[in-house]
């Protein structure tokens, strides 16, 4: 109980060295590695929640996610490719746009929420996106864009998805420099303002599709 409290509060206070030393200490005393990882995730959940409420900021979220990643690596090895072959979500910055900060942070947040995400990178053509969605059968496609030329790329991608997959196409979500008007213009299903909104929306969609059991506490 004491270690739990210390570990969770060290993550919430974004004390990297303290978290790592608590985890190493716990492991050396034979504590269950998965419980330690779960405690770090709980701390990160609190940070993400505080970020959504405006009490924490992007820098805090990035650092807390980094701490989680380090602990995950200590316990599980490289986390990046977990479930890479059967992702629930395919995510890319659309054609003509090379901005990747927002996408990367959103992916880190989603993975922290336990979601399996395949990162397609930046400047990804509609063809590549559609092929990847068909190949992986992902339930959700997330597209990011920070320049206004991205709107047309998003629209082209949605049109191609409809043409190739019709009713089997995934739920589409956009983020970046977008709003309600861009959502309508591109024909996507949802738009989100920040990465925690995006991660929460994906969880909700997957739960409703029964890919994730409703009993999951997040």
């Amino acid at each position: 109980m004491r270690v739990w409290k210390l570990l969770v509060s060290a993550v919430v206070a974004i004390k990297e060295e303290k978290v790592l030393s608590l985890v190493r200490n716990g492991l050396s005393k034979g504590m269950d590695p998965y419980s330690l990882l779960e405690d770090v995730r709980k701390g990160l959940d609190i940070v993400a929640d505080m970020y959504s409420k405006g009490d924490y900021f992007l820098a805090d979220l990035v650092m807390a996610a980094e701490i989680y990643k380090e602990v995950q690596q200590l316990i599980l090895g490289s986390p990046e490719e977990l479930n890479a072959d059967s992702p629930q979500i395919v995510f890319g910055t659309v054609e003509k746009d090379i901005h990747d900060i927002g996408k990367n942070i959103a992916i880190v947040t989603m993975r922290q929420y336990g979601l399996a995400v395949q990162d397609l990178g930046v400047d990804v053509s509609p063809d590549t996106i559609v092929n990847k969605v068909q190949e992986t059968r992902a339930s959700i496609l997330c597209m990011s864009g920070l320049i206004s030329d991205a709107y047309d790329s998003m629209k082209k991608t949605v049109n191609l998805l409809t043409e190739k997959m019709d009713s089997l196409k995934p739920i589409t979500i956009i983020g970046g420099l977008v709003n309600d008007a861009v959502c309508r213009y591109t024909g996507v299903d949802y738009w989100v303002k920040n990465c925690t909104d995006g991660a929460s929306l994906c969880l909700k969609i997957l739960r409703e599709a029964k890919t994730i059991p409703a009993s999951d506490s997040r």
């Binding site: 974004i14 990297e16 924490y56 900021f57 992007l58 820098a59 805090d60 990035v62 650092m63 980094e66 003509k96 746009d97 090379i98 901005h99 990747d100 900060i101 990367n104 942070i105 320049i147 206004s148 030329d149 709107y151 047309d152 420099l177 709003n179 008007a181 861009v182 213009y185």
Partner: protein, 366 residues
Amino acid sequence: MTAANELYEERLKRIKTAAALEKPDRVPVVPLANAFCARHMGVKMSEFCTNPKISNETIIKSFSRLGEFDGLQSAAFYATGLSTLWLSKVKLPGYDLPENELWQVDERELMTIEDYDAIIDKGYNEFLSDYYRERLDNLEAKLQPLSYMPQAQKNIEDLGIVLFCGGMATIPYESFCGGRSMPAFLKDLFRIPDKVQEAMDVAMVDILENTRQMLRAAKPIAIWTGGWRSASEFLSPRLWNRFVFPYFKQLVQAVVDEGVIAILHFDSDWTRDLEYLRELPKGKCVLALDGATDIFKAKEILGDHMCIMGDVPSSPLSLGTPDEVHDYCRRLINEIGPAGFILSSGCDIPPNAKPENVKAMIDSVK
């Protein structure tokens, strides 16, 4: 005095009156547009963004079709120049991208964690000289086309148009964050805060001196002193108050001391910290917003302290109708103006803006 001269003086007076928080004969309109002009005139993006003479001609031609405005925030454009602000390479159309695509800052971790020590040991100017040569592919030599800028300025002024932004300077946070890449830099702020601050303090000495020299040589009316990476929305107040605002305060003071208006070109959301901007010299700065900061809140907090400029966002300019743009502009004119307000686009007019929407923005001040 020629007609163009008279027009120039009339427009300059209008802009300066607004900047000094007074009420001009009408709200001035001073757009910022680069890529939009290339698309509007059918000029290849690859030529526009690599040749200041072509961009100058294109900007003039484009705006000559869009109604009567008071000034521009850019007389010419040279994309590679962005590397000096964010210490990153810029992907150029025609070279790294298809010829009609938009140039984009290619953020990578070019600046290493050891570079903070190099800055502290060598000073910022010497560090930059090495960095430009070794990591930005001999940037210094690539900046030669910028020597056309004084002529570009003269070309628009000869037409009676005021160049309202005659240079650029920013704080170490923006440059370090670009060079390190945002995720790595944010982690530096947690892991080695004292080292980052020491490097910023050392860099600031040269940044201030370089800015003073630039202002004395070019004698602009105003310069861009802005950023987006250091916006309040990304940082806790603790980090913002340590790594961002003290440096903006020094930079703005240095600009104002030279008799030049500081354009706080603040992209992203700065709403939380607007109150701090009251510590900057009154009536000497222009807060230029891009639609992310609440401009109405800015008016409430800063309306009696600094002129506000903006903030017609990209989305209505590219996806909206002229009526929608007109209505938003009139709201700005009535609620943020008529005193201490300059109408403009939120940051750059996007490349796919509809010309009729840009015209609606310009015409709305009449």
